[in-house]
Symmetry: C2
Subunit: 252 residues, 2 copies
C-alpha cells in the first residue's frame, strides 16, 4: 500500500505504547476491518513530525475485500491526516523496506519574514536570505557514493555508513520557498535533516561549497551543519526497481 500522512500530530511511524503513531493507527484500523491481527511493515520509519506522500507498507491478510476497494474503505475508517493512495498485491516474500531500491525525500524551507499559515505544517520557517547557486554547488558534492558518517546522527548504531546519493536538487517552487530534494539507495538516521542544515549554512554564506568534500572525508558528525526540525521533511517516494540515470526526478 502507498500511504500519505501529515506527520504533525503523529509520534512518528513506528508503533509505540500510549503514543499516536502511523504504524499503530494503520494496524488498529486494518485489524478492526479484517478481524485479523495485522502487523504492518513500512519502507522507512519516519520520525515524529515527518510527513509522507509515498510511504510504502506491506501486510498479510486473507480478507476477501477486493484490492481496489481498500483506499475508499480506509479513507472512511482512517483519521483525516492519514490516507492510503494505492493498493497492490505482492508475492508473500515482498518486504517494503528490504526490497526498496531507492527513496526520495524533500525538505522545504519557508524563508519569508512571516510564514505562510496554509503550508506551515509542512515547511520549516527560516527567515534568512539563501544563495541558491551556492547551495546547488554544495549539493553536487554530495551526489555519488560516500561514507555519510558526518551526515548521520552520532547516536545511530549502524556501522556501514556508505550510501549512494543519486541526486540532490535545490529548487524554488515559489518565491521565498526553497526545496531540497534528495534521492538515494538508503538514508542514515537524520541524514536528510543534517544535509538540509548543512546546505542552509552554505546558503547563508557561513560555509563554502568546497567544504563539503572535506566534511564527508572527516567522518565526523561535528563537522556538518545542524539537524533541522522535522516539519519540513516529506518522504516523497519509495521505488522497487533499480535506479536509472535518466530518471528525470533526481536532477542534480
Amino acid at each position: 500500500m502507498t500511504v500519505a500522512y501529515d506527520g504533525t500530530d503523529f509520534f512518528g511511524f513506528q508503533r509505540q505504547p500510549w503514543q499516536r503513531t502511523v504504524q499503530g493507527t494503520l494496524e488498529e484500523t486494518l485489524s478492526r476491518i479484517t478481524g485479523e491481527n495485522v502487523t504492518v511493515t513500512g519502507a522507512g520509519r519516519t520520525d515524529a513530525g515527518v510527513h509522507a506522500r509515498g510511504q510504502v507498507i506491506h501486510w498479510e491478510t486473507n480478507s476477501p475485500i477486493p484490492l481496489e476497494r481498500w483506499p475508499v474503505i480506509l479513507d472512511r475508517a482512517l483519521p483525516r491526516d492519514l490516507t492510503v493512495l494505492d493498493t497492490e498485491e505482492v508475492p508473500l516474500d515482498f518486504h517494503a523496506r528490504k526490497d526498496a531500491c531507492w527513496k526520495q525525500y524533500c525538505y522545504t524551507l519557508d524563508t519569508h519574514k512571516i510564514p505562510d499559515v496554509f503550508t506551515r505544517r509542512f515547511r520549516t520557517h527560516l527567515p534568512v536570505l539563501l544563495d541558491i547557486d551556492r547551495m546547488k554547488e554544495a549539493g553536487s558534492h554530495l551526489v555519488g557514493t560516500h561514507d555519510f558518517t558526518s551526515f548521520s546522527s552520532a547516536k545511530s548504531p549502524v556501522t556501514d555508513r556508505v550510501r549512494t546519493l543519486y541526486g540532490c536538487r535545490i529548487t524554488e517552487p515559489e518565491d521565498g520557498v526553497v526545496a531540497i530534494t534528495v534521492t538515494g539507495n538508503g538514508f542514515l538516521y537524520n541524514m536528510v535533516r543534517i544535509i538540509a542544515g548543512t546546505l542552509v549554512q552554505v546558503g547563508k554564506g557561513e560555509l563554502s561549497p568546497a567544504a563539503i568534500p572535506e566534511i564527508l572525508e572527516a567522518k565526523d558528525r561535528g563537522r556538518a551543519g545542524k539537524t533541522l526540525p522535522p516539519e519540513g521533511l516529506v518522504m516523497v517516494k519509495v521505488c522497487y526497481t533499480p535506479w536509472k540515470e535518466e530518471t528525470s526526478e533526481a536532477g542534480s
Copy 2:
C-alpha cells in the same frame, strides 16, 4: 492589520465565551503586549472552520511599538495557525468592515477519489466529476447586481439582499482541483458556500446553467443548491478602494 489564519481549529472569527476564536485570540494577545484593553473589529465575521489569507482588522492603541515591528512580534506571540502579515496606520475613523469596497472569497474542491492529505484542511473533498464549462456558464449568470435571497441563509435577519458580484471565476489550479473565486461589494450569510453548492450541482449535471437566472428571480433559498462545508472556504482579500472593471483578479 492584514491577518491570515487556518480556521480549522477556530470557532470562527467572532469572540465567544469559552471558545477559541480569531477575534478572542487577537484581543488577548494584543492586550497582553500593549497592556491596554484592546477590542478588534474585522472586515468580515468568518464562520467556524473558514480560513483567511487577507482578513483585515482595525484596533486602537497608544503603544510606542513601531508599526513595522508588529508582524514579527506577533508571529512569536500568536499560535501557529494565526499570523499578521501587514500593519498600517489609519485615520481614527477608519472601519475595517464599513469602509470595505469589495471582498474576494475562494472555495476549493478536491475531486480526487482519495483527498490530498497536505491540503485537506483547506479543500472540501467531493469525489465527483465536474463539468467546468457548465460551471463557468452558470457562474457568469451570477455576475452583476441581483437580489441574492435565494443564495443566502434563510436564518439571516438582513432585509436588503441586493449585492453586486464583480466576478465569479472557475479554475482548475491542479488536475482534479476546482476553485470558485467570487468578488463582490458584499456577501450575505453563507452566500459563497451556497453559490459553490449550486455550481457543483450544475457541474454534476443536476441543474442547467440557464436555471441560475430563474433561481435568482425566485428569491427562495429552497431553489439553490446545498450549503457546502466551511473547510473549502478562504477569505482571500478585502479592498478599500472602489472596484475597477480592469482589475484582472475578478475574471468571469
